[in-house]
Symmetry: D3
Subunit: 239 residues, 6 copies
Amino acid sequence: MRPSGRQPDQLREVSFVRDFTMHAEGSVLVTFGNTKVLCTASVEDGVPRFLKGKGQGWITAEYGMLPRATHTRSGREAARGKQGGRTLEIQRLIGRSLRAAVDLKKLGENTIYLDCDVLQADGGTRTAAISGACVALVDAFTRLLERKRIKEDPLNGLIASVSVGLYKGEPVLDLDYDEDSNADTDMNVVMTQHGGFVEIQGTAEGDEPFTRQQSDTLLGLAEKGIAEIVQKQQAVLGW
Amino acid sequence: MRPSGRQPDQLREVSFVRDFTMHAEGSVLVTFGNTKVLCTASVEDGVPRFLKGKGQGWITAEYGMLPRATHTRSGREAARGKQGGRTLEIQRLIGRSLRAAVDLKKLGENTIYLDCDVLQADGGTRTAAISGACVALVDAFTRLLERKRIKEDPLNGLIASVSVGLYKGEPVLDLDYDEDSNADTDMNVVMTQHGGFVEIQGTAEGDEPFTRQQSDTLLGLAEKGIAEIVQKQQAVLGW
Amino acid sequence: MRPSGRQPDQLREVSFVRDFTMHAEGSVLVTFGNTKVLCTASVEDGVPRFLKGKGQGWITAEYGMLPRATHTRSGREAARGKQGGRTLEIQRLIGRSLRAAVDLKKLGENTIYLDCDVLQADGGTRTAAISGACVALVDAFTRLLERKRIKEDPLNGLIASVSVGLYKGEPVLDLDYDEDSNADTDMNVVMTQHGGFVEIQGTAEGDEPFTRQQSDTLLGLAEKGIAEIVQKQQAVLGW
Amino acid sequence: MRPSGRQPDQLREVSFVRDFTMHAEGSVLVTFGNTKVLCTASVEDGVPRFLKGKGQGWITAEYGMLPRATHTRSGREAARGKQGGRTLEIQRLIGRSLRAAVDLKKLGENTIYLDCDVLQADGGTRTAAISGACVALVDAFTRLLERKRIKEDPLNGLIASVSVGLYKGEPVLDLDYDEDSNADTDMNVVMTQHGGFVEIQGTAEGDEPFTRQQSDTLLGLAEKGIAEIVQKQQAVLGW
Amino acid sequence: MRPSGRQPDQLREVSFVRDFTMHAEGSVLVTFGNTKVLCTASVEDGVPRFLKGKGQGWITAEYGMLPRATHTRSGREAARGKQGGRTLEIQRLIGRSLRAAVDLKKLGENTIYLDCDVLQADGGTRTAAISGACVALVDAFTRLLERKRIKEDPLNGLIASVSVGLYKGEPVLDLDYDEDSNADTDMNVVMTQHGGFVEIQGTAEGDEPFTRQQSDTLLGLAEKGIAEIVQKQQAVLGW
Amino acid sequence: MRPSGRQPDQLREVSFVRDFTMHAEGSVLVTFGNTKVLCTASVEDGVPRFLKGKGQGWITAEYGMLPRATHTRSGREAARGKQGGRTLEIQRLIGRSLRAAVDLKKLGENTIYLDCDVLQADGGTRTAAISGACVALVDAFTRLLERKRIKEDPLNGLIASVSVGLYKGEPVLDLDYDEDSNADTDMNVVMTQHGGFVEIQGTAEGDEPFTRQQSDTLLGLAEKGIAEIVQKQQAVLGW
């Protein structure tokens, strides 16, 4: 039934390539099928003004798409002079999700920028970005520990994310672009490796609302998918 | 337990004042306790470029806060030269939610701007805005019908929204600012008058994720609250 | 002769509602007929850079119109990414006018933001804004005195403003939108409660210039109107 | 008494150099003492959208200061990414004033841009700009007539402008920077060559308001000065 | 002598990976040592306004660096709201260089966007971008021919680019970051496959100017390097 | 052969008027035929952040064109809200070129802004700007020495610039607009008074690349022209 021939509860091929680029403290190319996102974690001394002197660090995220990551070229946001609402919404979600993974006190007065740039898009770029940024963050923490810039690992645990939705009335896991653009309901879910929910964003795309029962089924599907993604994260980290 | 003394499943006082200002086709002051939002619906001929010639209309929303709607003054977005990420995220939510209430075909090639401006903020501005904008939209449709600019009522049904959350571990309905700024989990829910879910946005605010069971309890609380808000909408509309 | 049936030297109904919103140190809804402006006075520690260390305070103003305050919707300045020339011109006028009401030395190193947001427009928004902002300013001074953040009242005296103009060749007081959009000459006048002129801005709107005699007649009319507005300010302040 | 040694009712040396640059339809360097403004009139086919199809033309103005036209360098507005409030206010004044000089119907569907760029500032840049732009406009009309792009001269008559003010309590004409920065009251006046008032903008600069009598005296002084400037305009135009 | 141990006239390892991403008509990852740039060619119907109706096409380029392509993170241009001068300068150079490779008449009324995004920077990003964009352009032309959107191949010939410079007084080819940041003179050269010069940009970086003889030597070095890069381009294209 | 009747190796009339405006530390009107650029040098205390505490100064440049400096009016960059790519490219070139003329250590922690504003354009505005800015810079250094703000003259030597190009296949010196807009190759060259090259920027404008031999011939022509311009600089400086 799915355009890709996948089972309803089957993820696309998920992979993480660490140290994809050489300068960043963490640099991960994450792949969810044909969706490819480069996630880097960059450490900077100091914290934003609103946190000065509070003895804690900060995690923030920025998201972008290369102009031709998509089927048709979309205008470059730098050239248009502002980031669109979708971009801001996604980067707020990424930052919020990853902050939930971290004990900011243990980070000290350091800021970590998570840059998630989509090289190729085929649906699910935000969930791939969150899942990949988490691996880049782990690598950055490792380097901060090695360089003795922090004393304790600030990581509370891994975070991963996946989309679920109703496609032709059926609950499916990890929607690709073909499914996403035709879904009745689309839900992005972020969870911890311990099975806690960090974020749920469900939207009835058409004028067909969804039921509480459907919502619950979708959450179950997300739990399954995220558990598998966390296993992949653990594997690539050698845990 | 709640700072306001309310029961866990008790809404704040909710009211809708229609025709609050005189120029707009729909103009509603919505009050959720101390949160006051002016929602206007403005009809314009024509549709955005991407819909030209498709024989349907469009609903879009803009959201703003007066600089001193809040405890401390926040900079005027017009003066800073851009709308912040939070603003864009909220106005995208409002627009998406209200489009779910409307048969855009029946609207013809007209665009309705829903302007939601917060005069006074005390938590829940986006849920108040959605609930108020729906009443303004109904009034605008009535005027379009009276003026024979449309033939059929495009409304599929009422839409309302409320926040729910975990405050000191307890599920509560319709959080005010004191609760919201200390909540463990905050969830905004949008539903149709017929009990369908249009949007669920749940966030673990601290580093304490929530469970699937808690999510389900919160949705139940939201269902109760939204049903009451829909009754208020119906009452003020004389239905 | 006037569309509203008023006498040439008759003001619209003028009212001031204090504490219209709850967070600001001063919050006044001013009404000149159908023109309604919410004026808040917000106190912040410190002064702009150019005044640092000079032992004085600062008063500044910002002006905005809700998109549907007007007959037809005007684009939101925050969304367009800049304030228009008219907006900047008006907020500069408001700030300059109110500074004339204040002994900035007595204010200490505090800044007061006067936010004037038009909820409903029917001509004369800037004159209503100045008149209302003055009442909000008085309330803010009272609170600063109560909280012992300042020792002496910085107010030199009340300030009020009204428009006058030539409508169908006749001098009239306090033009509404119907008159304003058809006036030959439009003049905005700001005065102190003691009868001194703070600002005169007179413009021949069409290609019909005005005479020195007409200018003098208009100033006389403004003196009368402003005296009445000052009485309203005093009444609402309980002076 | 005046820093420059001038009589209270004495203008600075006023001159107009026509065809100061070679590309514009009108190009005038206007000098009021040490204030030097280059005013060009540029003709373009067509009118702004709001005038399309109304069979009339449009006059608009833009104003700028070279960064080091002033005592200390001010940041380049193009580099800061926006025009300041003062700039917008002045260019609105210039445009409005010059439109009063023109029968826009006779201009046909053409737009004239009046660019007023201050090469050197010593007070009174806006009044010099208005007076110089009028001469540039006359030259542009002459060229449009020569090229048969218009049939009738659209000029209603010359427009000129001067500042007056209270300096150390005395009414003086055409304030230079030393006077302007210390004036109690500053008034910019725009008049037609026939003695009609187009614009009056009077401001009490300090906390010392001015009287109706003083306003009247200042207007008399302005009438005298503007009459002299009009004579200079006529002389340089060979009228 | 060179930090990398290369001979003075030795290129870094140069490679081109075609079809690096899947949506663009041409998509090439170009590598000059550790410098990696993703170059995509996107075809759109139509031409910019200034070319409408002239029966020719257009080639334009945009350049960007991912925030952590560099040693230390640089702010995202989309977030800062504008492209910097260096970015604009480089993208103008890329566009101009590639237009020299193309017969725009044969392209018909189509526009090709060349997006060059630096994934990892180690000096020479603009020369790599030009060399890679040319291969992406060839692929795009091939697809346009296959799809019969154009009849003749618009390519005049290949274009490639390399940097040369004086490092510790010695002429060297293809500077990496270590050399570039210490070079006395830096020169970027763009040439056709037939040995013609398209662009020469030479700069004395310190206060040590260079001689005409040195300039000539550098051009000779560039000729050699570009010939080798063209061979690589031909090899990857299977010519 | 040249539209102007000049010999191939003949400059336009070149002149420098010092102290053209009165406020700047250096103010020079430079004329290359009909191209007229006002160059001011403004001294400010302090240096940009990246140089703080390094005991050296900084030279930076800004470039602008008055809207009607050109044949047809171009939009004012301040009104459009950003500087175009061409503007940024030119001002970066001017700044870089003039820094090559200066020992920044001897300048101390001062910044000099070189503002180059084109009053009238007829080709070669950037080369005139560089040549004129150098004279303004010398005057500013003289004033800094007189005022004892610096102890030693920071000038390494004069800098001048000229364009050369291939017009109808022939090498010509100092192209005017008619030539420039039809040139096959255009090259801007910046040199020191001692004959060293500071910058070479050569571009094949059409699809006709140039040869190494042609490049060399053009550099020879530039050497001749720049030597003559340096003589003019020396003459006007009384050296």
